[in-house]
Each structure stands twice: as structure tokens, then as C-alpha cells.
Symmetry: C2
Subunit: 292 residues, 2 copies
């Protein structure tokens, strides 16, 4: 049960250190001195670094070494995640002045800078993938394609668009299936799928294994979001935020967590059976931490 905790304790500091180094590499000395600071502030927002850790956990689970290059591939996910948080917090979006107890980027640096910080972070993620040295060009292209698809017009950004539109309609009209399949899948699960798949591409897996990983991470991503809503249930209630848990009720939300945990475990069991290099222990431990 503590294997993922140990893994996280070991690699989270390395991910944070890499994020700092990467900003220094991407921002030249010519540029204004506070620009690098803004990007670093956005990237190092307190957080679990779940997406890079998931990518690295996949690499590790297939028996491959976690090199500095693998960490670079994994941090690309944090660059995209960080950009999405910076833009989500903007006044015209969720208008959040705080993010995990510290000022959001727009609250600290102004909304124009926050738009530009987010834009630069997204581009930076693709720079990081293109500059990897431990994989071949085909693997890099697969990672770029995965990240662009899962973060883009039919992925994470679409989740935001649909979420925004949901805010405007009566909650009775929202079919559970639509919310689950669209907002939750797109807004949260898609980038977690991208994390698992980028780990998988880094480990140069076959399509069949990648499909299993996508199944695992898709179910895990929904689970993670529902669990997050369950954790925030009382606070959301007070603030009038309507989450999936409010739509379906606590009992059904707990049932969903059980079902999704089962689906995630099944995908891991399938992988174990089909690929002798795969050790499910680390991802099972992650799942146990989040799921039912």
C-alpha cells in the first residue's frame, strides 16, 4: 500500500527540480528577469505532481530505468497541467485568486501575464518532448501526438468548454452519462491518459499494451475526479458548486468509485497477463491510494 508513496517521495523532488531547470533552459538571459520567475511560480504551484509521477510509474512498471530524460518526458505533462490551471483561474474563467493557498498567477502578476504564462507553458511542453535524447524520433512523435490530442480541441480544452456550458444549464437537464463521458473524461481523465501513454511510449510499448494503459488511466482518471469531488463535497455544498457527486448523490458516487476501481484493476490484471515485463504492484498501490 505504500509503494506509490515511496515512489512519490523519491521522484516528486526530482520532478520539481527538473521543472526549475527546464524554465532556466527555455528562458534566455536576454528576456526580462521576472518572466522566468512567473513561469517558475506557475510550474511550482504546490501539488502532488500526479501526472508526471503516473508517467514515471508506467516507465518503472515495465522494468525500465527512470533517467533524467524520462523525468523530462514526464514533466511535459506538468507544463500542460500548470498552463491549464493558470488559464482556469483567470477572471473570465473561474476567477480564482488563490490556488492551493497561494495567490494564483493572474492575482499575483495580472491577467495579461497569466494568459501569456499559460501560452508559453503549453509550447514549452512540446519543446521538452521534442528535445528528449533517450528515445527515437518515432517515440517522440507518438508522445507529441498523444499530448496534443489529449490536451487539445477534443481533449482537456473541450472539457473546459463543456464544463462552462454546463454551468449555464439547469442541473436537471444534465444527464449523468453526458457529464461523466464528456466533462470528467475530457477535463481530467484525458490528461491522465496522456500521462500513462507518454510513459508507455517512453518504454516503447506495443499498441496492445498502450490500449490497456489507456483503459487503466481512463477509468483511473474518472475515479480520481469523483474522489476529488467527494473530498470537496462539504465545501462545494457551502459554496453552491455543483459537482457530479451532487448530481448523482453520495451513494451512487461511491458505487461509481467501486466500479471504476474494478475497471482499473482489471486493466492492470490484463497487462500482467499479457506482458511479462509488467509489474502491477506500483500502479495497484496508486489505485489503492485513490480508489475504493
Amino acid at each position: 500500500m505504500t509503494k506509490f508513496n515511496d515512489f512519490s517521495e523519491k521522484y516528486q523532488p526530482q520532478v520539481n527540480a527538473a521543472l526549475k531547470t527546464e524554465v532556466a533552459q527555455q528562458v534566455s538571459n536576454q528576456s526580462s528577469s521576472d518572466w522566468g520567475q512567473m513561469l517558475t511560480y506557475a510550474l511550482l504551484t504546490p501539488g502532488k505532481r500526479l501526472r508526471p509521477l503516473l508517467a514515471l510509474a508506467v516507465v518503472d512498471s515495465f522494468g525500465q530505468e527512470i533517467t533524467a530524460d524520462a523525468i523530462q518526458a514526464a514533466t511535459a505533462l506538468e507544463w500542460v497541467h500548470a498552463y491549464s490551471l493558470v488559464h482556469d483561474d483567470l477572471p473570465e474563467m473561474d476567477n480564482d485568486a488563490y490556488r492551493r493557498g497561494q495567490l494564483s498567477v493572474h492575482a499575483l502578476y495580472g491577467p495579461a501575464s497569466a494568459v501569456l504564462v499559460g501560452d508559453a507553458l503549453q509550447a514549452g511542453a512540446f519543446s521538452l518532448l521534442a528535445a528528449l535524447t533517450g528515445v527515437n524520433a518515432e517515440q517522440k512523435v507518438a508522445m507529441v501526438a498523444t499530448l496534443a490530442e489529449k490536451a487539445g480541441a477534443n481533449g482537456m480544452v473541450l472539457g473546459q468548454v463543456l464544463d462552462m456550458q454546463n454551468h449555464d444549464i439547469n442541473e436537471d437537464q444534465v444527464a449523468l452519462a453526458a457529464v461523466l463521458d464528456q466533462v470528467y473524461q475530457k477535463k481530467t481523465a484525458d490528461l491522465l491518459q496522456a500521462a500513462a501513454l507518454i510513459g508507455g511510449h517512453y518504454a516503447n510499448l506495443a499498441d496492445k499494451d498502450l490500449d490497456r494503459l489507456a483503459a487503466f488511466a481512463g477509468a483511473f482518471g474518472l475515479l480520481f475526479q469523483i474522489q476529488d469531488d467527494l473530498d470537496d463535497y462539504d465545501q462545494d455544498q457551502e459554496e453552491g458548486v455543483v459537482s457530479l457527486v451532487h448530481l448523482v448523490g453520495l451513494d451512487q458516487a461511491h458505487d461509481l468509485v467501486v466500479q471504476l476501481t474494478k475497471r482499473s484493476n482489471q486493466a492492470l490484471a490484463d497487462l500482467t497477463q499479457e506482458n511479462k515485463n509488467f509489474d502491477s504492484e506500483l500502479l495497484t498501490s496508486l489505485l489503492a491510494k485513490i480508489g475504493a
Copy 2:
């Protein structure tokens, strides 16, 4: 003198048609019906399509055929250019309600949608490059690296950051060299360089040729921006906008145009001498259209 006009007349409609098709491919039917419309509206803002046409002109100038796949590579530049315009027009940025005579994206769809449209367009550009079929994986990685670098934290976005900071300081303090080297180079020339280089990578050129192309497009990009400011001189004067031309005066601006035209022509002459497959006529004609 009309070769580039003919080229543009032939390929601009093909670029526009490709942009429409690409949105339909990237946005699934599941998603909300107006999402695809928003992306299309942003991409098909009236314009010259200079960046994709420059990329295609490079491919053509090295004697290679302009296929649908080459057009797809070229349109990636328009996805990035369009995203930058959508975000530039936001209320917290330039707060422009109109773009070339039609409502800007935020004015029509609201600022939250405009943020998301821009975000999705940037991701889409990388999807397009990763999905090319007429080049090898190394070429695709080179194009992704080029676009991410030239559009990112040390490229186009940095130009916006510096431009924003310049708005706040006394114009006397702005050294000409700093403005030229930083804002103009980053904000405009970098993406034009990316266009030339993506054309060059598509044609699988050697590093030496790519360097010459970068030199051409860097000078051409500055030239293009100064010429643009010269064209807008009277209007800027009325509206109190301070452009480079206002900082250095009309005479020196015209001198700069002459110098940059010379540098651009020199780069084309070098390419002609060094690569027998290169025909300078089309790019010379483009330069004649813009330069001195």
C-alpha cells in the same frame, strides 16, 4: 514581381480549405456544435495567410511538390498565428473588439471561450505536425521543436511579454536596438522564421541551408513588421500608438527597410550559390512585394 502573387492566388484558397477540414477532423461530433464554429471563425479570420504561404514557398523554391501533406505542415503555422491573435485581442491584452473588420473572437463568443479557442488552436498545431505522412519522424520532430521554440517562452510569447512591458515605460528609455532585437524579432520575426524553417524541414534541407533560411526569414520578418508600421503610421499617430517608426522617425525606418531588404536578398543569393536545387525567384518576388 508577380510570381509570389500568382503563387498566393493558387495556394491561399487551398490553405483556407485545409484549415476548415482540419477543424472538422480535430473536433469530434460528440462535442458541442458551436465549438467547431468558434475554432473555424478564429482560423478563418480574413488575412493574407503569409506564414503558411512562406512555408510553402520554401518547399516550392527547393523544387519539391506542394502536396496536401505539405499544406498541412504549413497550416500548423496559421493555427499558431490565429491563436496568438485571439489571445492578443482579449480584454486584458489589447482589448480589440474588431480584427480586420469583423468581431474578434472574444467580442463574439466571450473572453472565456476566446482563451479556450486560443489554447486549443495551439495544441492543434502540434497535432497537425505529428500527423504528417509525407515526411519521416526526424523531420516531424524538427518541425515540432522549431515551432515550440519560436512560438514559446523565448519566442513569440516573449515578444508579447516585452511589448506589454514597453507600453509601461517612457519611450525615451527604449533603446532602438532593444526594441528591434527583442519585441519585433520575437513578436513577429520568430514565427516567420518558424514558417521558413518548417518549409525547410519539410524539404529535408541540411543545417547549412536551414541557417540561410533562418537568416532570410529573420531579416524578412523585421522588414515585414516595420513595413506594417509604416503602412499604419497615420492611423497610429491618430490613436497615440507608439510603433518603432515613431521611435526612430520615418527616415530611419525607411533606411532600415533598405538594409533589411539587402540582408534578405543576400541570404537568398547565398542559398542560390550553395544549393543548386534552390530557385530564388519566388522568395525574391515575395521580398519585392514587401521590402524596398
